[in-house]
């Protein structure tokens, strides 16, 4: 396949994943803000912006005063925000158009339909009353594309690059959410044991759609260490870092088998995965959660860069 097509498919799925994760983050923020006084709600929305790396762009547009409607409209649909969900869906579609010959009609139609539907829903400002519908639509459309891919795509390099893109992006997104919320999970704070912390922890889980899975595994016991272990090291949870690296390992191995050679990216991936396997949550907290996440993000970024080089995504 063409290097440019690999690039297109990789980014198509990165953008879709990012759009979906952004919707989840807004959902968690919205829920949190509803239960808080206005000062704390603003703080919550600000942390959504920080997680998405949009704080400065938002401030340039709206100033430092943060209200919910401004934030989710900015994140979802603002034309001045090149990283809006709408822009991501558009970029996903542009990439899909570019790799049109590499994806099935079903996948293309699912992407195209997502774009038509969301463009329509986001054509006018989103009110609090409509927000949930919009967020639902983003998630559902992403699910539809994934479903079309699972059901119709040949298992070959194109499919592997799609899965690799998804996993790289998802690991990045989970790590960023953890990074912004890391202080909530610090042991010193957990000692306080207030109900507010419980809400905060719950919120971190919600942002990665992990609240039910976590409760099921831990019988309702909330503790920050457990949550951190769950989101970082539990290979059973599809948004955990360890899961994403398993996924990467599988798909990169399949790619190497198809091509008959491994690349430098394989070595980086293996290092990352072995590193995660060696780690315990105790060691992570000892090292410092924030430092760990910083290292992880750097490793993940290096991997993505190396994949693009090794498979000649660009000249």
């Amino acid at each position: 396949m063409l290097g440019r097509s690999a690039n297109g498919i990789f980014w198509l799925f990165r953008y879709l994943e990012r759009a979906e994760n952004t919707a989840r983050l807004i959902e968690a923020g919205f829920r949190m803000a509803l239960t808080r006084d206005s000062g704390a709600a603003s703080e919550e929305w600000r942390s959504v912006l920080v997680t998405l790396g949009l704080h400065a762009a938002f401030a340039a547009r709206h100033g430092e005063d943060v209200t919910g409607a401004q934030v989710f409209n900015f994140v979802l649909r603002d034309r001045d925000n090149p990283a809006s969900v709408l822009a991501m869906i558009e970029m996903a579609r542009t990439n899909a158009r570019m790799v049109r010959t590499g994806i099935t009609r079903e996948v293309w139609e699912a992407v195209n339909e997502s774009w038509m539907k969301l463009k329509d829903m986001l054509a006018r400002p989103v009110t609090e009353a409509r927000l949930r519908d919009v967020l639902d639509a983003v998630r559902r459309q992403a699910t539809q594309v994934r479903g079309a891919m699972e059901g119709t795509m040949l298992r070959n390099d194109i499919y592997y690059f799609a899965r690799i893109g998804t996993a790289v992006e998802r690991a990045d997104n989970t790590a960023r959410i953890l990074d912004v919320k890391y202080y909530v999970l610090l042991p010193s704070l957990s000692a306080v044991g207030s109900s507010l912390d419980n809400v905060q922890w719950d919120n971190v889980l919600r942002a990665v759609a992990g609240e039910r899975a976590y409760r099921w595994l831990n019988a309702g016991q909330m503790d920050p260490r457990g949550i951190a272990r769950f989101l970082i090291l539990d290979e059973r949870f599809p948004r955990a870092l360890a899961f994403c690296y398993d996924e990467l390992s599988t798909n990169m191995a399949l790619l190497a088998r198809e091509y008959g050679f491994e690349t430098e990216a394989h070595a980086i991936q293996r290092q990352g995965q072995e590193w995660l396997a060696r780690l315990t949550i105790e060691a992570i907290f000892e090292q410092g959660l924030h430092q760990f996440i910083g290292e992880f993000l750097a490793c993940n970024h290096r991997l993505a860069q190396q994949i693009q080089r090794d498979y000649r995504f660009v000249e």
Partner: protein, 479 residues
């Protein structure tokens, strides 16, 4: 069945003047009459939603809002009998053979010019004549691998060639999708009426291109790639569609470079040579080393590799000289010169404004004529006398006087009509037909049917999609 009367008497392909249905449409009419009221309209809405979802759109240059627009599809088929088609294909075959012989001659000894049958002036002042092609014979001797011949009809047996498209004719994806859509919407119709297949066009195209592999090709299956200017090109959908259907790579200029004496594409496993490139990029942008130096759509050095026998370019560069409107008026002479036969398909009568007598006549009769720019396309820059105001005619007349050799004129033809489906029922609209022709060293292959373009506005003669035209499925009946 209701039917509006056309503004002027035109040949109605479906109905006799007395309102009875012509034999070609008999089977269709029987089916139509059995359909419940509202069925066709509902299907029309379905078809539009289907096209949007599948992304069958084209981009309009200069349209501010609409990045992608649909070409309206009309669900009433345009039907051609087996007998009519036989005659048409003989005429098309003859014309396409002549075009290829003409191109070979123009880029070699120019016997037709030496014989005084085509004036040297037409080549001398023509940017479509590419000196870079002189003395070179493309692999397999094929210049125009894909040709679209635009036909118009004025009577039962009166088909004429309006235009030849020998550069990069487009529209074939609509021919294929229109058929798919019709079969999806009205499957039972196709069990009643036997229509000749078009869906194997991509396979035939792939085979035809593969048969023109260059000297440097070694292996058992030539690598074919479709070169597109990219996703913002108006025909991108078609480029992707054809590549997909042929199982070929869809490449952009940035995917290609000269490597190892070949043109190679950048794949995830390394550089891989391309044997045949079906380019949908104009000559001028093909090679910044040979043509427009600022082009980023092409491949630097591809012309060198081409002349060295390392790649086949389809269509060959420089074929535009054969479909130039100034050359068009010489097509009857060209057909005769190279085939030794009388042309089977006539041209539309054409006045060359470069000739003083013709110019005088055209200036006197502007209100009745269609005047076209010699190098224009897509219905831009033309005057349609009968539908233009006095002021428009006066303004055009000045342009014509200033540069007469830039124009040709033709009578306003009373194009045949086929009914379209409107709110008020069936109504006749003017149509043309673009059959698609494949050329390989093994011969000429014409897909039965083609793209029927239809002017959706009542009385309008402009069928171009960029100017509000629509399309229809085109049927050639099986014997």
């Amino acid at each position: 069945m209701t039917s509006e009367l056309p503004a002027e008497p035109s040949y109605d392909e479906m109905l006799e003047p007395d309102g009875t249905v012509r034999p070609a449409y008999e089977g269709y009419r029987r089916w139509l009459e059995a359909q419940p009221a509202g069925h066709l309209r509902r299907k029309g809405v379905e078809a539009e939603a289907f096209f949007r979802r599948t992304g069958i759109t084209f981009n309009v240059y200069g349209a501010a809002d609409a990045e992608e627009r649909l070409i309206p599809f009309d669900p009433v088929p345009r039907i051609i009998t087996a007998t009519q088609w036989r005659k048409l294909s003989r005429g098309i075959d003859q014309r396409v053979r002549a075009i290829n012989a003409f191109l070979h001659d123009l880029y070699h000894r120019q016997e037709i010019v030496r014989a005084g049958r085509v004036p040297e002036r037409l080549l001398r002042d023509n940017a479509a004549y590419l000196p870079q092609m002189a003395g070179f014979t493309p692999p397999g001797g094929v210049y125009t691998h894909i040709v679209g011949i635009d036909l118009v009809r004025t009577g039962e047996d009166d088909f004429m060639v309006l235009e030849d498209n020998a550069r990069t004719p487009s529209g074939v994806s609509y021919m294929l999708e229109n058929r798919e859509t019709m079969m999806a919407m009205f499957p039972e119709l196709f069990t009643r009426v036997r229509v000749r297949e078009v869906s194997d066009y991509p396979r035939r195209l792939a085979r035809s291109l593969a048969a023109c592999a260059p000297a440097a090709f070694a292996g058992d299956k030539p690598t074919v790639a479709v070169l597109t200017p990219g996703i913002y090109n108006s025909a991108y959908f078609e480029h992707a569609f054809l590549a997909d259907q042929m199982g070929a790579e869809l490449v952009e200029g940035s995917d290609l470079k000269v490597e190892g004496g070949r043109v190679a594409m950048r794949t995830t496993r390394g550089w891989q040579p391309v044997d045949v490139i079906y380019r949908r990029v104009d000559d001028d942008f093909l090679d910044p080393l040979s043509f427009n130096p600022s082009s980023v759509l092409g491949v630097a050095g591809i012309m060198d590799v081409y002349r060295a026998g390392g790649i086949t370019i389809a269509n060959a560069p420089g074929t535009g000289i054969s479909d130039d409107k100034a050359i068009y008026s010489f097509m009857p002479e060209i057909v005769e010169f190279y085939t030794g036969e009388k042309p089977i398909l006539p041209n539309v009568p054409t006045w060359r404004c470069s000739e003083p007598d013709a110019l005088a006549y055209v200036l006197d009769n502007l209100a009745d004529l269609v005047v076209k720019e010699v190098h224009g396309s897509g219905g831009y820059g033309m005057l349609i006398g009968p539908t233009s105001s006095k002021r428009e005619i006066a303004a055009f007349s000045a342009k014509l006087r200033a540069r007469p050799d830039n124009y040709i004129a033709q009578p306003t033809l009373s194009l045949s009509t086929v009914p379209i489906f409107t709110r008020a029922g069936l109504a006749p609209r003017h149509v043309d037909l673009r059959p698609f022709v494949l050329v390989s060293p093994h011969g000429i292959d014409i897909t039965p049917g083609g793209l029927t373009r239809v002017a959706l506005k009542k009385g309008s003669l402009v069928v171009n999609s960029s100017q509000g035209g629509g399309t229809k499925d085109s049927w050639v009946l099986d014997d």
